[in-house]
Symmetry: C2
Subunit: 208 residues, 2 copies
């Protein structure tokens, strides 16, 4: 039948949805795809280095068409960033809840953190460090949220029976710097995120 001469575009706006579930899924599907693709691109090429058209191409849309789903490129980044932080915080709190020993808890947190940050196809990956090319006001708000997230590690480090002579402030700062920047050289095929995390904790372990 000649019915679909124009089928190359114009995917059905909605599926045959008697059930609201499916409809919801389709909508969220696209939203989620955009978030994930954008997250991956931001992580790979930075915020300034990623164009809206780049994102569109990877989802199969024109750049302009993205604006049906997003308010602006900036808001898209902020959204991704916030979701990533929230998801990470939840997963980490979950992981440390079952542990009692302070060093075990720190290790669990580090392992989870790295697994999140190094997961190549997850929107949680790009808890990007790319605040650089951001407008200053946005950057400020991002930093605030990041700081809030990192308070988990304040608690964890405070629990530690840490060797005297080590300042807990810089200790935590250094640990987070490490966790945040493994992504710069990590590639699949070498050590697993968990193995790396355990090496980190091994180095940072200085008992009182």
């Amino acid at each position: 039948m000649v019915v679909n001469k124009t089928s190359s575009r114009a995917r059905p706006a909605r599926p045959s949805a008697f059930e609201d579930d499916l409809f919801q899924n389709i909508v969220n599907e696209r939203h989620r795809e955009i978030l994930e693709v954008a997250a991956a691109l931001f992580a790979e090429k930075g915020y300034a280095g990623t164009s809206v058209r780049d994102i569109g191409e990877k989802v199969g849309l024109l750049g302009g068409s993205l604006y049906h789903y997003i308010k602006s490129k900036e808001s898209l980044f902020v959204c991704i960033h916030d979701m990533a932080l929230q998801l990470a915080e939840d997963r980490i709190r979950d992981a440390i809840a079952e542990k009692k020993d302070p060093w075990d808890r720190l290790e669990a947190a580090c392992v989870t953190m790295l697994e999140i940050k190094l997961d190549p196809d997850s929107l949680t990956m790009p808890m990007i460090n790319d605040f650089q090319s951001m407008p200053v006001d946005v950057r400020a708000s991002l930093v605030v949220k990041r700081d809030a997230f990192e308070r988990i590690f304040v608690e964890l480090v405070d629990e530690l029976p840490l060797a005297s002579g080590l300042d807990r402030g810089i200790y935590r700062l250094l640990l987070l710097t490490l966790l945040n920047n493994i992504g710069g050289w990590y590639h699949e095929g070498g050590l697993t995120p968990a193995q790396i995390a355990r090496q980190i904790v091994a180095i940072f372990r200085h008992d009182r």
Copy 2:
């Protein structure tokens, strides 16, 4: 005197230079200024986030006029990057030459490295991690040179009487990750670069 009606532009191309030294200096002065300003901007806003006109404005030139000194924005970055690495390597080799004890040598290297990377007005500062928004081929060549530079630390780590159970490969990778990314949060007024470096070595110190 009305002599300088047009003085807002057209600074004398050369000073009254009987001596070649001075002439050389002036030429290099401009060159160096451009290198430094560009370095600072790249470090602050990233490569993609810094425009040629941004750089020009900070040196007091129009964007187009910069092309009297540079071949392209890309080559400017590469040039800065290479000079920074060379300078850093020299200074670090210098600093460790006088030390004998392996841990002392590592500490000297770390202190020097951080002093270089955290010096706000030095073109050595931006041994930037911003390879992200770079064309892939350029990125590859930058990584090669960076790897060459970091071989200093391969030697230093190999010398260490390191506690067994610690893999020297990741150990070095983690140490460098740390040194390379302090710039993300460092600001003057807190600990000095040297103090931070010593804290790092204190944490990384695990004798056999």
